[in-house]
């Protein structure tokens, strides 16, 4: 009765093991209960875990890919979430896996763009596989708001225009203060033609 779903890409292989949930009438081909999973990487340690860990992986990697496709690299899965992903300091994408076992250091993997695309493809294949008869609580890809898109421009670039405006106002005010005020006691001189008419 044990079922194994396997999805392969060039750099990774995802295997999900489980059983059909016969209590809701699932047949032998389906998988309604996940008993374990493993993600094998070429040249990297294999990841294993329970259903919760797989869901946590999907809940951060797929939204990260959604933001990345719009050119906004944003961090997902802050502590105490078991999985975290964000842009790497030297390019690439840092995937951090926190173990639920005490005294076990988190595992840090740095993925390049191709490895991330492979990971996204295997996770997509799994979530859209008709044999997986399990509700996955994953957010639908939604359009980003204007404010979220601003993040793809560096802060210095975003602040340049308002700062230049403020500077221009300050310079204009300073120059205005340098113009001498007219003295209050002096009357304006009359033109000679007007004086003759008198």
């Amino acid at each position: 009765m044990k079922q194994v779903l396997q999805f392969d890409q060039l750099s990774c292989r995802l295997k999900v093991e489980g059983l059909p949930d016969v209590s809701v009438g699932q047949s032998g081909q389906n998988l309604g209960i996940i008993t374990g999973w493993s993600l094998a990487w070429a040249g990297r340690p294999e990841l294993e875990g329970r259903k919760e860990h797989l869901l946590a992986l999907m809940q951060v990697v797929l939204p990260y890919a959604r933001y990345l496709i719009s050119g906004v690299p944003r961090r997902f899965g802050a502590e105490p979430e078991p999985v975290e992903i964000g842009p790497g300091p030297e390019g690439g994408h840092g995937l951090l896996l926190r173990s639920s076992q005490p005294d076990t250091l988190p595992l840090q993997l740095n993925l390049d763009d191709a490895e991330l695309a492979d990971l996204v493809r295997v996770l997509d294949q799994l979530r859209l596989d008709s044999r997986l008869q399990l509700p996955l609580e994953l957010p639908e890809p939604m359009p980003l708001k204007g404010r979220e898109l601003l993040e793809r421009r560096p802060l210095a670039q975003r602040l340049a225009a308002p700062l230049a405006g403020l500077l221009a106002v300050a310079v204009a005010s300073g120059l205005g203060l340098l113009i001498p005020e007219p003295k209050p006691g002096l009357e304006p001189t009359q033109p000679p033609a007007a004086a003759q008419a008198k």
Binding site: A65, L68, A114, P143
Partner: protein, 180 residues
């Protein structure tokens, strides 16, 4: 699993930026594949979009709604038409995935990688010069050596993440992004 049987149809119209980006992504697919134009027509027929795009001229006319085009058409696209174009793009990206992966992988030797990027960027620049209005800022950004390299990488990355069974929903959502 066929690519066009997963996500529901959209009712939202693509904004101006979305139309620009969709056409640039299709142009990138053409730059990767010398027969990309023909492949698009073939894909359209295979995926059952002949009612929307009965021939290559109609397909071409829809792509000309990109405001960056040299000869642009002012009418907008219906959501069904943009969805069909996105599905064709996703299918092309899926077919070209080994090439996209080859461009994005850091495991390749740097000389090979540099050669591949130069080839892709020169083909894309040729297509952009042929079809786009060179006075537009967005087009000049693509042809600029520095910003063009960054834009090209974003296009390839978007194609790679838009390929595969879940790519359509992700790509469509990104094309519907608000104007920054």
């Amino acid at each position: 699993m066929p690519l066009h049987s997963i996500a529901p149809e959209s009712t939202a119209r693509l904004p101006r930026r979305g139309l620009e980006r969709l056409d640039l992504l299709l142009l990138s697919a053409e730059a990767l594949d010398l027969n990309g134009g023909e492949a698009m027509v073939w894909m359209s027929e295979q995926m059952g979009f002949t009612t929307l795009f009965p021939n290559r001229v109609e397909l071409w006319k829809r792509r000309c709604t990109n405001p960056l085009r040299r000869t642009t058409r002012r009418e907008g696209l219906e959501p069904a038409e943009t969805d069909a174009l996105i599905r064709i793009l996703c299918a092309l990206a899926d077919r070209l995935y080994p090439l996209l992966r080859g461009l994005l992988s850091s495991a390749e030797p740097p000389e090979v990688l540099s050669e591949r990027w130069n080839l892709f960027r020169s083909r894309l620049a040729d297509l952009v010069r042929q079809r786009m209005n060179l006075r537009r800022g967005g087009v000049q950004l693509l042809l600029d050596p520095e910003s063009g390299a960054r834009e090209s990488r974003l296009l390839i990355q978007a194609l790679a993440l838009g390929s595969g069974v879940g790519g359509f929903e992700r790509l469509r959502a990104s094309l519907l992004d608000a104007q920054p």
